[in-house]
Amino acid sequence: MITHPKNDFERMFGPYPDGHCFEIESSAILKKINDKAKQGEGVKIAEFLLLRTANGKSSISIIEAKSSAPKNADEYINDVQEKLSNSLSLFIAIYLQRHSKNNSELSDFFKQTELSNVSFILILALQNCEKSRLPPLQDKLKNALKKTARIWNINLNSVIVLNEAGAKKHGLITSITTQ
């Protein structure tokens, strides 16, 4: 599981191999950035980044987890878009040592990853959401992240919305522990 879950759903994620999960939301750098901001004007950020390698190809998934699906989809999707875009930017800023020279918060696995050819996957995970509601939400999120995807040359197919079952199927939730 991730080390700083805010709720039962976040507690479900993992466990992941040591050094492969970067909990950006609880990072010291984010805290430092937001300490300077006024109430409600801080940088909104996703939960965590997960580094994985499959078939000799590395990918970094950026995951925003929510326990339920939205009522007002437009507002909600804009919020998620902002968090995922900010997480991508902040992670790359940290990787490029824009905030501190030794990148102490990033594991060696992240530091040694060649970002020029890594695949980024931007994920919204919803705990309680019927499968039939996922396709339109995914389309909406793709649309909202279109510019970010263009800037970073990320394939729009890598913007996805999953429910709990999908998160399990694709290895984001590997244990059934909810403690």
Partner: protein
């Protein structure tokens, strides 16, 4: 309003009893599941009741029905409509405003139907069938082929529609919802489709420009059909409209707008039976059912059987609906490859 339809051994439809019908009813299924067959079966029954005793027509209901079935399904003998594997007769029972109309016949029937029971009597309103293919540019060809040459090809759904379109636009106030619907239809058209008496052809007028109907977009022709039938008062508040493949030639935004107009007309009394295999049609009707708390009965073909549900309660479990989920899953799998 049609309350219930029962069919036994009617072509591809072995056994069907669709009850508690609403103002808008939806039939979903893949190609060759029998959607069009069902619509035509209902339509031919309705037209029989509507032609019965109209004006000076002295034909018996059984005679009208036999002609209607012959020219609608265009098989050499109407006994060919009985399901091939059936060992009992074809039966249709339609309940209209709580009164029944039923008939049955066997495989050997050539053109005389002996068992017809009509408790409905005659009917002053008109029903219409809007086929998937467009009609306006073929208008004269349909009329000539059927009225002069009397040959198979265009069935009665086309002929009746071509004749209905021939009626001139009526003057005077229409029902408010009908007038409102026509305004919306004309807004969608961004012009007007009119019959030109001089050339004997339909044309599309946009501002000062005129286009022959043959070069006009298919979607425009479809919307124009409904607009014309409302304008010439062929349709009234008790009409039943059968629409085969509503989505054909319409893009998703036009589908949504078209269905909004249907919902408005349904609230004024017109009953609709819509056959579709479009996700957009089902979804839009689902949203209307939810918003207006309106029962929209659905007949859905799956695994060789017809299932009944209601969009007020749920989206039907159907391959068309499941396809959007399947595509979604394919997309997600692609992201993790």
């Amino acid at each position: 309003m049609i309350n219930r339809i029962t069919l036994n051994n009617f072509g591809p439809l072995d056994r069907l009893d669709w009850q508690k019908l609403g103002k808008i009813n939806l039939i979903v299924g893949n190609n060759s599941s029998g959607k069009t067959f069902l619509l035509k079966a209902m339509y031919s029954a309705m037209r029989t009741l509507e032609e019965y005793k109209r004006g000076d027509d002295q034909r018996k209901a059984s005679e009208i029905l036999a002609e209607k079935l012959y020219w609608t399904f265009q098989s050499e003998k109407i006994g060919d409509l009985v399901s091939k594997q059936a060992d009992s007769p074809l039966l249709l029972e339609l309940t209209l405003d709580d009164k029944t109309f039923d008939y049955s016949f066997g495989k050997d029937t050539i053109k005389s139907i002996s068992t017809v029971e009509n408790n409905v009597g005659s009917r002053a309103s008109n029903s219409i069938f809007l086929p998937a293919k467009e009609v306006l540019s073929l208008h004269n060809i349909i009329l000539k082929s059927r009225e002069q040459d009397k040959v198979f090809g265009f069935d009665d759904t086309y002929l009746d529609l071509a004749r209905a379109l021939r009626l001139p636009t009526a003057r005077g106030n229409n029902y408010p919802e009908f007038a409102q619907s026509r305004l919306q239809l004309e807004e969608m058209l961004d012009g007007k489709v009119e019959y030109d008496e001089i050339s004997g052809r339909w044309q599309f007028k946009k501002g000062k420009q005129k286009f022959q109907i043959g070069v006009t977009a298919e979607g425009i022709k479809k919307i124009a059909l409904l607009d014309t039938l409302l304008g010439n008062r062929y349709l009234d508040r008790n009409s039943v409209v059968f629409i085969d493949e509503l989505e054909s030639a319409l893009h998703p935004v036009a589908i949504s707008k078209f269905i909004d107009i249907i919902a408005m007309l349904a609230s004024r009394g017109i009953q609709f039976f819509i056959a579709s295999h479009s996700y957009f049609v089902v979804k839009k009707l689902f949203l209307i059912a939810q918003e207006q708390k309106l029962s929209v009965p659905v007949l859905s073909y799956q695994d060789n059987e017809w299932l009944q549900s209601d969009l007020l309660e749920e989206m039907p479990d159907n391959p068309i609906i499941n396809e959007s989920i399947r595509l979604y899953e394919e997309e997600v799998d692609l992201a993790f490859k």
